[in-house]
Amino acid sequence: MTPSVEDRLRTHYARVADELELDALTFDDVLHRKDPIAVAPPTPGSRRPVTWALAAACALVLVAGLVALNGRETADPSAPATEPATSTPQIPETVLPATTLATVADGVPISAPLDASQVPYGPLDFATTDSALPLWPEANSSEPPATTTGYGMSLCDSGYSTRVLRVDPAEGRAHAYAGTLCPFIDLATPRADAVTTCATTTVGFVYARCQRRTDLTDTVGAGTAVVTTADEQQQSAMRGFPTATRGEGIEPFTVDLDAVGGQEEAADFRDEVVAVTITPAEVGDFVDTPGFCFSIALEGATAEGCAGNQLLATGLAYGAFRDGDGPIELIGIVPDEVTTIEVGGVTVVPTSNVWHHTLADGPAPRITATFEDGHTNATT
């Protein structure tokens, strides 16, 4: 009888683990090592340590908003699941940017400035709509306040600098949010666990946490919010990022995804830069409405999440990734109807409902999704 994959895994792991031989060592030896420990030295030939800026993604946010703020400060990397936050481990490696401020519910800074001995629990916050902000007041903790509609958000698990790089307020200049937005919540039908997963704010192991809201009034109280206002350098760095898909925008396309086909099997898109997997979203599990889930893997970063069909129907569900000052990688997921995507004048043909385009530095491009009969939808 052929052993199951699970059994083979157990056997495999046991065998691998048994072959590891460790030198005799005490913790005192570790403390008094002369050479500093470098846990993850860059491999020759690899790019420099990544500071993936996971900007917007799936520009959604419809009426939605979301997010996050964090709960209590603790060094325990495994907060209980029963807490309002679905936390991510904290392993402080660097201090947060000087512009970062952590606050608790009463607005009193708990760690400003942060130092290396503290656990700089991260953000969260998010771009939301004006109508949604009153329901999530503590989320609107940016300076200037977020008055924009829908700059996407995305998911987490990247482990790297995950940051909403650009928010376009109704007035004033664009600004940045530190942190990651976690999808996808519809405030009209709030779910206690709709805000999920993690976020990271700085290079290394400094993770943010997304708070799970139990109700609209959030009796738990606001968690730790970290917001960064873009400085001039960040402003400059952000200019190449496309604008958000407006959540209230039209939905000109169907929501059919051949790549998913209603099957459990994943559909893959892969090129030399990115790999994308799309699977059906399980209503009630990942999203409040039918939709799709995706997994995006690039060098040094992955993003996973789900989006509802409202976003898919815009034809403008995309995420933008950037590694430091490198090129911006745009990855979008479109329904079957969309035959081409035009990014800043360049036509991209989706494959298996996914498109990918690399942007050099420059002004933010306009993104247009087009169906074969000519009807379109475009970013502003």
Binding site: V5, E21, F27, V39, P77, F205
Partner: protein, 161 residues
Amino acid sequence: MIVNSPDDRATAPSDLAAVSELFELHRSPMARLAYVLTRNSEVSDEIVQEAFLRLHVNWERVENPTAYLRTAVVNACHSHHRHLRVVRDAPVGVVEHSRLHADEISDALAKLPFPQRAVLALRYFCDLDDIEIARVLGIRRATVRTRAHRALNQLRKEIAP
């Protein structure tokens, strides 16, 4: 096999001796977890040492040292994995292969994204349940299930006769 020790914190004094004691107890299993994930013995040991150093620094605020260590190790392995990934030279998702264990399942595991490999290792090596895995990885339980499902399906494809 790594076993949770919920009483670690309660029974150990918050001083160097306590961390030293934990080091003696958990260094080996943590290193093996790291080795399973990185396939590099030197890196594995350094990751574990670094995790203990962090634990020492943060001792006063760490509520569950064992859980902290496990999370620190997995995250460090993830970081190491990221540094090794050079997508422009190799397809996404293809990671370093072990020379020592170049068998079918080893090769198949190497092709999985790290988050999926981490879930499998925590489930089938550490014998953690999905709730514990979710805590270690900072993800939802549903995400754990999804990752495990995808990973196992992929493995079945890869090693199908």
